[in-house]
Symmetry: C2
Subunit: 192 residues, 2 copies
DNA sequence: GCTCCAAGCCTAGCACTGCTAGACATTCGA
DNA sequence: TCGAATGTCTAGCAGTGCTAGGCTTGGAGC
């Protein structure tokens, strides 16, 4: 029994190593640089080992996404709880979201831009994803406004932040006025 | 002279064929299916011919993007001019934007998600791109609100629409309430 | 009308990608 | 100690974007 347990532990450890390495590599050189060969080389195993843990590259991206979702949820909650009053809270939330996207571009891409084979907005959506959305919802429901469904409001708010995050990083929006845009968005969308 | 002119005409025609075929293929089966081999086969030339017109696949994407930008600008202006009053105009604009994104996913990706090697928000930004932004600005400046820079407001509005468009299409947002989200966004962002 | 040359095009190939079949060790249970 | 099962690796497939170099063809000059 103990032998089997040790093996399972080692397997789990290697799986974490794969995910962490993929993330690190993606964060350093972009997801395009995360090839199965390079990833295998970095973890010091051969390529087929990757496929004994994941069905393919897509699932590895999905694993990075789940890890990132948990971190993002924590970051959002930390930012929100450190602010006093609805306005400050929502502003802090928006800043934290955009900050996370800018600081962890590879993770953000795994979550919202790439195909990690994850289900969204469905019954079988993985917990961490639901929880990240819940983290947004918690701070936003109080500013959704009368007669507006909090979930729907959160979706719109989230989509707007997502648009700012992606367009800014893709060079479609000049980064200088990012703060001004954030303030304008919060001021208009939320009802305090 | 006439021979040379004919050759240039034929060359230009073939270039249009390449762009149109790439777009068609991308719209039918997604950009991943647009490989240089498949594209070459469809235009009934060999691969190297593509490289005598474009530096690479990226430039082909860029060409599709420029074509799409002009169409999008036209669609936005048509929708806006058919509406009476600021509120109806902005709503029509938002709907037209999201409709274009949904109906021309490949073109939309070429424009805003993929790397087509185009400069954005800069001096050397290609005309069609500037014009598409201008089409948004024309209808939005009247609802930007007091003391808010129209350009900045347009950027925020655009980013929000972009977020809705991409998250909806990526399955991150349920498509059912798309219309409700659009209305909420317009109601909150614009000041009538 | 004939020759020659240059432009235009294609075949073949490079280095890379994600992924997998099958051979080879290694380690465990009887 | 032996057989089997687990684990890992080598080698290879079909596909990708892109390019070097040879070949055909069509126009220009005599």
């Amino acid at each position: 029994m103990s032998v089997q347990e040790r093996k399972e532990r080692e397997r789990a450890g290697r799986e974490r190593l794969i995910v962490a390495t993929a993330r690190e590599l993606a964060e350093q050189q972009g997801w395009d640089a995360v090839t199965t060969r390079r990833l295998a080389e970095r973890i010091e195993y051969s390529q087929p080992v990757l496929y004994s843990h994941f069905r393919g590259k897509r699932e590895i991206i999905g694993a990075v996404a789940l890890e990132g979702a948990a971190e993002m949820a924590a970051a959002l909650r930390a930012a929100a709880s450190a602010a006093d009053g609805p306005r400050a809270r929502v502003t802090a939330l928006a800043r934290a979201y955009l900050h996370f996207a800018a600081r962890n571009p590879a993770v953000y891409d795994a979550l919202f831009r790439l195909d990690g084979g994850l289900a969204f907005a469905q019954e079988d959506t993985p917990g961490p994803l639901k929880d990240a959305f819940a983290a947004l919802l918690e701070s936003l429901e109080e500013v959704a406004g009368d007669g507006v469904h909090p979930g729907l409001f959160t979706e719109v708010f989230w989509a707007s932040l997502h648009g700012l995050a992606t367009l800014t990083r893709a060079g479609r929006l000049p980064p200088e006025e990012a703060e001004l845009r954030t303030e304008l968005l919060v001021d208009r969308l939320a009802e305090f």
